[in-house]
């Protein structure tokens, strides 16, 4: 009796595994639930057509819950084969715990620059554990129709920028700039991190801060706060209670002339504006004529492999494809504003996205200053920067006091800054 059961069990397992062997299904964990349709309709069919026998299942969860959901799935052993990687410490932590596989030997890694890979590498840069997918670029989106109406041209320098804002303000038809401080991160991400790299000279300043040779109270790190403090006069009425969606709507409804932006807005703004006016973009203005320009080209999203996957070969095959220029073209065009990190140039259709990406040629790219290493401790530099930037704009703190507070917070736990 037991024998028959055993045989039956054995037979069923064999049959079961035989059925599986025909088609390998790889599941992708992701927080980009906005992109579900794009994956299902464009990206996955392209891969499956070229690679019969591998099926891909894109299974996203909600962005705010992603980190928590992913961690518990990985601990429980139920996570998918491919893991979408957050930049820096969140993924590094997973790699250190052995949850993400080392992908340094992937052939496709050669297609990416060191800056592109830095978000998914160990601190010494020796091991890379995710294939970079996309970055977002900061800059200013403006209402081209309004600019033409008022006879304005995009500014090159800080002085020109403020002269321009003054003109829009005097005219009174438009709110000069759409930004609020209610959500705080707008002030830090679209404000401080947007205009800052021009002052701290991009990677040079960011690295100096990590090494401890420069501090947040030095002029290059205080200057962006000084500029932010001046923004106050050009924001809409009641900007203190204006939220991120409020700012987006003010701009897309044509009530504001300039929007301090991240390139991810391109895909959102286009359909919302629906042709009511034309958009243009300019990079953050440099402090003085002839200065070299720097832009925040922030590495944001990558794909890694679950170390416990049952199909490592197929997963690696997919990752090689994600690192190819074919994927880069597909992804960048499906999601304008998420720029491929691939070293091979990608042909894009969207004119605004093209404008943003063209700055990579003329300006030096860098990543957000607070993301690598500096936000590992408590108080967290990134979160403190949110509050500080919002405070500087509302006038609750002077630029110098905000910088001083950030420096003290950083020095309280980060050894290289404790000298």
């Amino acid at each position: 009796m037991t024998k028959t059961i055993r045989l039956a069990l054995l037979a069923s397992t064999l049959l079961g595994s035989a059925a599986w062997a025909q088609d390998v299904t790889l599941t992708i964990e992701s927080w980009r639930n906005d992109d579900l349709a794009i994956w299902q309709e464009k990206i996955i069919p392209a891969f499956e057509a070229a690679n019969p026998g591998i099926k891909i299942n894109f299974a996203p969860s909600a962005p705010p819950e992603y980190n928590a959901v992913l961690n518990s799935k990985l601990d429980a052993g139920s996570a998918g084969d491919l893991i979408t990687c957050r930049p820096f410490d969140a993924s590094l932590e997973l790699f250190k715990k052995g949850k993400l596989a080392d992908l340094s030997d992937l052939a496709a890694m050669a297609n990416f620059s060191d800056v592109a890979k830095s978000a998914w590498q160990t601190d010494d840069g020796k091991q890379t554990f995710c294939v970079p997918m996309a970055s977002v670029i900061h800059g200013f989106i403006y209402n081209k129709t309004a600019f033409e109406e008022l006879g304005l041209t995009p500014p090159k320098t800080e002085a020109e920028f403020f002269a321009l804002l003054d003109k829009i303000k005097q005219d009174g038809t438009y709110i000069p700039m759409a930004m609020g401080t209610a959500d705080q991160w707008e002030a830090a991400t679209m404000g401080y991190q947007n205009i800052g790299p021009n002052y701290w000279k991009g990677e040079e300043g960011r690295k100096a801060l990590i090494e401890g040779t420069s501090s947040l109270t030095d002029e290059p790190w205080v200057a962006p706060f000084r500029q932010l403090a001046k923004w106050k006069d050009y924001l809409g009425d009641g900007f203190e209670a204006q939220t991120y969606p409020d700012s987006q709507n003010l701009f897309t409804l044509g009530r504001a002339a300039i929007y301090p932006a991240g390139s991810w807005e391109i895909g959102v703004f286009g359909p919302q504006i629906g042709g009511a006016f034309e958009m243009g973009a300019f990079p953050p203005p440099v402090p003085a004529e002839g200065d070299k320009c720097y832009i925040s080209d922030h590495t944001d999203i990558a794909l890694g492999m679950n170390a416990a996957t049952e199909h490592p070969e197929e997963a690696r095959k997919f990752l090689e494809w994600v690192g190819s220029s074919e994927f880069a073209t597909l992804y960048a065009n499906a999601l304008p504003g998420f720029f491929s990190l691939n070293a091979a140039p990608v042909e894009m259709q969207d004119p605004l996205a093209k404008e943003f990406v063209s700055w990579r040629e003329s300006c030096e790219p860098t990543i957000r200053s607070t993301y690598q290493i500096l936000s590992r401790g408590t108080p967290n530099l990134e979160n403190e920067t949110w509050t500080a930037s919002a405070n500087v704009i509302t006038g609750a703190e002077t630029p110098e006091a905000a910088a001083e507070r950030l420096q003290q917070g950083l020095a309280s736990w980060y050894a290289p800054q404790q000298k």
Binding site: D89, D183, S375, T387, A396
Partner: protein, 305 residues
């Protein structure tokens, strides 16, 4: 006589479901949290640190500044409720119990309805009403010529917390109103009639006869308000986000605990410090409730009819 009373099993049986469920979902996690606050991550995993987490919370200038700021805001939040919600609730109940009021059932329902709404809806709706860009508040003030009084209240450090407290009062004023209303209705007519015979009517009747009779209900409401306020989190989180802006001026213990325990944005969660804050909150609420039970509840006079 010699026969001992049989053990009354039915008592244990009837208590068991409630005791078991309550223990499993409340008491065990509570002790788990208290226990968690005595540990921290050190070399090679979790280590016992005794009360060192509390020393950090109260001793480290950053932690203690955040903690006292949250506690101070929480106290103000509670004070606004005590000074506005409960007197208004009592006043509404007194009005509703007046026999001459027409449409009492309508008012009662209308005032109570916000209580059953979700925090998310209340927070979102008020945020829209008060929005300087799309809100109806600036327009309404403009209509009566008081536009100059409008300010982005939720965005200013000085006004944000009070505004939120008043939103919460708006939402929950129905609860004290209903409890007091029930207490007022339960006052026997004979007592009122006797008072009228003695010439105690109107306001003096309320102060001298009714108020002493509803004091125990007011006590219960105060303690419910206290516990509710010191556990509050949702409204602030929904309207101001986990960073409780502007500049932490609306940060209360609940949001401080959330940020610490679960982490926020790039900040990775710290369950040990989070549990420490939770324990401190537990202590504060325990002290408050204990004070009420021993110092106030026992002195309240109750009247039997």
């Amino acid at each position: 006589m010699a026969q001992r009373k049989a053990f009354r099993w039915h008592i244990a049986v009837f208590l068991a479901p409630a005791v078991l469920v309550y223990t499993a979902i409340m008491i065990v996690p509570l002790f788990g949290t208290l226990n968690l606050s005595l540990f921290n991550t050190g070399e090679g995993g979790r280590v016992f640190v005794g009360l060192r987490n509390f020393a950090t919370l109260f001793g480290d200038p950053r932690w203690s500044a955040s903690f006292w700021n949250a506690l101070g805001n929480n106290a103000w939040f509670f004070l606004v409720h005590m000074l506005v919600q409960n007197p208004v609730g009592v006043a509404l109940a007194a009005l509703l119990s007046s026999p001459r009021l027409r449409g009492a059932a309508f008012y009662r329902t209308a005032i109570f309805i916000p209580t059953i709404l979700s925090f998310v809806i209340v927070g979102f709706v008020w945020k829209l009403i008060l929005s300087p860009i799309w809100g109806i508040a600036p327009g309404m003030l403009d209509a009566v010529g008081l536009k100059s009084l409008f300010a982005p209240w939720l965005g200013r450090e000085g006004t944000a917390l009070t505004t939120l407290a008043l939103i919460s009062v708006w939402q929950f004023v129905g609860i004290p109103m209903m409890l007091i209303y029930a207490a007022l209705l339960s006052i026997p007519d004979e007592v009122i009639e006797a008072a009228e015979m003695d010439g105690v009517t109107g306001w003096s009747q309320f102060w001298k006869i009714k108020l002493p009779l509803i004091l125990p209900s007011i006590g219960i409401i105060s303690i419910l308000t206290f516990v509710g306020n010191f556990n509050a989190f949702d409204l602030i989180y929904v309207t101001q986000g986990a960073l409780a802006g502007p500049n932490f001026s609306t940060d209360i213990l609940g949001t401080f605990l959330y940020r610490t325990f679960f982490g926020f944005q790039l900040q990775i969660g710290d369950p040990h410090m989070g549990a420490t804050i939770a324990t401190a909150m537990f202590g504060i609420i325990l002290l408050g409730v204990g004070f009420y039970l021993f110092a106030i509840q026992r002195r309240l006079r109750r009247y039997q009819f």
